[in-house]
Amino acid sequence: MQSPFPVRSPKLSLALCAAFILFSNSLSHANVFSQLGVNAGHESNVPRGQDGPHKEESSFLTVDYSIAKLYELGTKNTLVLSGGINATRFNELRGFDKLGVSVAANYNYKWAFGAYAPVLSLSTSYGLEEYEGRARDNELLTLDVSFLKRLSPAWFLTLGADSQQSRADSLPHDPIIEQFGYDPDRSLPFELYDYDSTSVYGDIEYSFENGMLLNAGFRRVNGFTVSSTTRPTLALYKVADALYSDPAFKAGWVAYQLEADTNEWSLGLSIPSGLDSSINFGYSFYDISAVSGNSYVNRIFSVSYVHNF
């Protein structure tokens, strides 16, 4: 699927962010802030396996830190430039451990003063993720447009759409894949994380008088899934868009890319733990429908701590 946004290379986004940072000193009015997040949770189907033997669950711990500079370009316009680093460690599936870095630019247009004015938000981010093996390494360019509106002291609405370009390194020939030899006329690419996707999303948030927040969200992704199996069949070979030995497992697992639509449902509860921090409970359910009728589910439960500095 082609991205609807005319950005030809993730490098362009990186260059844009770097340029903003370089020129940022010429904008005298700015606030620097940073945010730390620590997130512990459990994922029911880390490799996105289709059936019982391939649904590997694991608990995980993620730490992320970002630092940002906010510029007020005018009374209605702000620009936030940020950079972040994140690391995830899986307790049972160490092959999915990853380290990521990202840069982002976020422009907000606010129709008026105050917390109740509608906001149009445009964002671009570029991130790199490195796993235990190169086959899962990827660089991700995201373009996002969202509309935010506080409807009342209690209700806050977010609607948005985004486009993602995921790119993977060129990988060396995989002798295991070549051994399959199902169809000599059909040579699948190896790059599991070469794909584009788009999504639309909405989130509604309810704020209690004591400061607790309850939110419910939905995201529909039109894109791809990368799943893993120990039994790559001919049928799978025929519908997959990429195939490679899964480096997240020691041996015998193959990862494959399928075109898929994903419905993501999420619920969250956020409890303030201080003026600038909160403890959050989140639950997400992923219902992934791939071509040829393959379907996958995943559930993530997490508890996180977020602190603004």
């Binding site: 009015h29 700015a30 606030n31 620097v32 802030f33 945010q35 997040g37 997130n39 970002s66 940002a68 906010l70 007020e72 009374t75 702000t78 936030v80 907000n108 008026a112 003063f113 105050g114 917390a115 506080r150 002291p153 209690a154 977010t158 989130d203 948030e205 704020s207 008088e209 400061g211 927040l213 939110n215 969200g217 969250g268 956020s270 303030p272 733990s273 201080g274 003026l275 600038d276 921090s277 909160s278 959050n280 989140g282 997490s302 996180s304 977020v306 602190h307 603004n308």
Partner: protein, 239 residues
């Protein structure tokens, strides 16, 4: 003696459950006896919400149709600081024609604004080096809601009064007015969360020489318009 006229000038008073429950007469001091012209009439208002919790930051104002001979100087100049990304104080009273400055004690930048009908203004983004550079005049009586264009949770109110007889309730819900000349007044109570038109209620009262009264008012409040400051995992945004 302070005597309520018992004429409820607005039926809404019943709705707001404004109750004058007790009048406590205290002994007149020798000083007051020697100076009956402007004696130490006082009102002490105890403000509670419907749950019985004290109401802080309510403004009590006495309004008169005639010129008031008062020893009170009122608030002609005020200062609303910005400390740890909050306005301090949250509620300020100024007599119409007075002014307020907005120093920034934080090491970050703020952008103060108001779009209230009583006063519309906005400053540029500025830091602590601006000192008291940003000062605004408040000539029109009313309530001015001020915010920061960077930090949406920052919210404060400037009550621009018609009279110099104003007080703000403290953390135990008590507002005290002293040195009140005797006469007929309208007692106005305003709070940012008061469930009433313009967030205020009024009642006529008659203030007589040399009396101190304690009034207890129960007011119905709506939820705060202030937004949460703490970040959430769902919206990891600065604002």
């Amino acid at each position: 003696m302070i005597t309520p006229t018992m004429i409820l000038t607005d039926n809404k008073f019943l709705l707001y459950r404004m109750k004058i429950q007790a009048f406590v007469f205290v002994a007149i001091s020798p000083f007051i006896l020697c100076a009956p012209a402007v004696s130490a009439q006082e009102i002490s208002l105890h403000l509670y919400d419907t749950n019985g919790s004290p109401i802080q930051d309510a403004v009590v104002e006495l309004l008169s149709d005639t010129a008031v001979d008062s020893t009170s100087t009122g608030m002609r100049e005020a200062q609303i600081d910005q400390m740890d990304k909050e306005f301090v104080p949250t509620v300020t009273t100024i007599v119409a024609g007075g002014s307020a400055s907005f120093p920034n004690s934080d090491d970050i930048l703020h952008h103060v604004y108001s779009f209230s009908s009583a006063k519309t203004f906005d400053t540029p983004l500025y830091g602590s080096d601006a000192d008291n550079q940003y000062r605004e005049m408040f000539n029109v009586p009313g309530v001015v809601e001020i915010g920061c264009n960077i930090h949406d949770w920052m919210l404060a109110y400037i009550y621009v009064g018609e009279s110099e007889l104003m007080a703000i309730s403290n953390d135990v819900g008590i507002a005290q007015l002293t040195d009140i000349p005797s006469g007929q007044y309208r007692l106005r109570v305003w709070h940012s969360r008061l469930d009433a038109p313009q967030n205020s209620v009024e009642q006529d009262i008659l203030i007589e020489v040399g009396r101190v009264a304690e009034l207890e008012l129960t007011l119905e409040l709506v939820r705060d318009r202030r937004v949460r400051r703490a970040p959430s995992a769902n919206r990891k945004r600065y604002r």
